[in-house]
Symmetry: C2
DNA sequence: CAGACATTTCAGTAAAGACTGAAAAAACGG
DNA sequence: CCGTTTTTTCAGTCTTTACTGAAATGTCTG
């Protein structure tokens, strides 16, 4: 598979953005490639196209599958795995929010609750710190619940929600 | 400055979360420390408390200032800089969203527009890729505009918005 | 079940990123 | 201005993370 200049530009940028959000560059690049590929690709093709080692592709695909962003497809008469990704950005957003919640928000909520509980017992001169953590806990819990709810929306509903922007913001101004 | 077990736990966790979101661990730890500190701290104090090099603190503080999350405060009779952070999580959220928009969303919007324009000219067999990029562009633009609008809300309004969760989600179901 | 093809594992290597300490620069007071 | 204190810069080092290629494992077919 040969990349055009434009596609290469997209893939490289996506990889770069990945690193800024804590995603491994190769993982993000593979995701970008699959996203614009009209047909599912084999690991071999991915490795050649992006010029990275076959084994690296294997691990990265596994990670993407862990995020539920990539799945295998099979062609009759070919026993190699072919990989494809979700093509709808709204579904992608939903999946990523859910993953982030599970991996980062939920553990943070738990940690903050523990910290608050510990400070509560002491009743010491830590009232200030406790107040800070309680406030942060509120925000973290709300963020987690948004992710959870978004998870349950259809892609179309999520899109409608984001497009409702102006009206929603006026509600609270 | 001596850390209690609970505070240390919070700071370490926050540092860890930072790395998962593409933030340097020391930077996130310093931010966490300032967040729970009742009074502004000098770079020296931060270095001692977290046991990291003075120069590392210097650079990390500069980065936090670049995010507008930290500013200097001065005490009469002391010419050292003292550093403090925003104490309100809602303001923090606003600031972080704005920073992410500027650094990541806006450049991505620009890149996607360029890519779409390039593919448009060709009119070639790249229709599929173009469609994918147009859809992704829509989402990225919407995300950027949400960040922009959130930026303009007061912390209280932003809090109200997030707390409106259930009602908002019902609107689009 | 043998042979071919496909995938994963893993130990070693390479690259990136973070951190340090020494030295330079800047800021301030007398 | 000079000496002192504080901050920043930067080259080198260290740590972590990512990546590779060879070998092992797994899977399918005839």
């Amino acid at each position: 598979m040969k990349l055009t200049d434009t596609t290469r530009k997209f893939i490289l940028h996506w990889g770069e953005m990945g690193t800024r959000w804590g995603i491994n560059r190769s993982v993000a690049q593979i995701h970008a490639l699959l996203y614009v590929s009209p047909a599912p690709l084999t690991a071999e093709e991915i490795a050649e196209t992006l010029d990275i080692a076959r084994s690296n592709v294997s691990g990265s695909l596994r990670e993407l599958q862990g995020w539920n962003l990539v799945r295998t497809a099979h062609l009759l008469g070919d026993r190699r795995d072919h990989f494809e990704t979700t093509k709808d950005p709204w579904t992608m957003l939903r999946i990523v929010m859910e993953g982030r919640r599970r991996r980062e928000l939920d553990p943070s909520v738990q940690m903050l609750r523990e910290c608050v509980a510990e400070l509560d017992e002491k009743k010491a001169d830590e009232a200030y710190t406790e107040k800070r953590l309680v406030e942060l806990l509120e925000l973290t819990e709300l963020a987690a619940s948004w992710c959870e709810r978004a998870q349950k929306l259809s892609p179309e509903a999520l899109r409608r929600l984001l497009k409702l922007g102006d009206k929603i913001f006026k509600l609270v101004e």
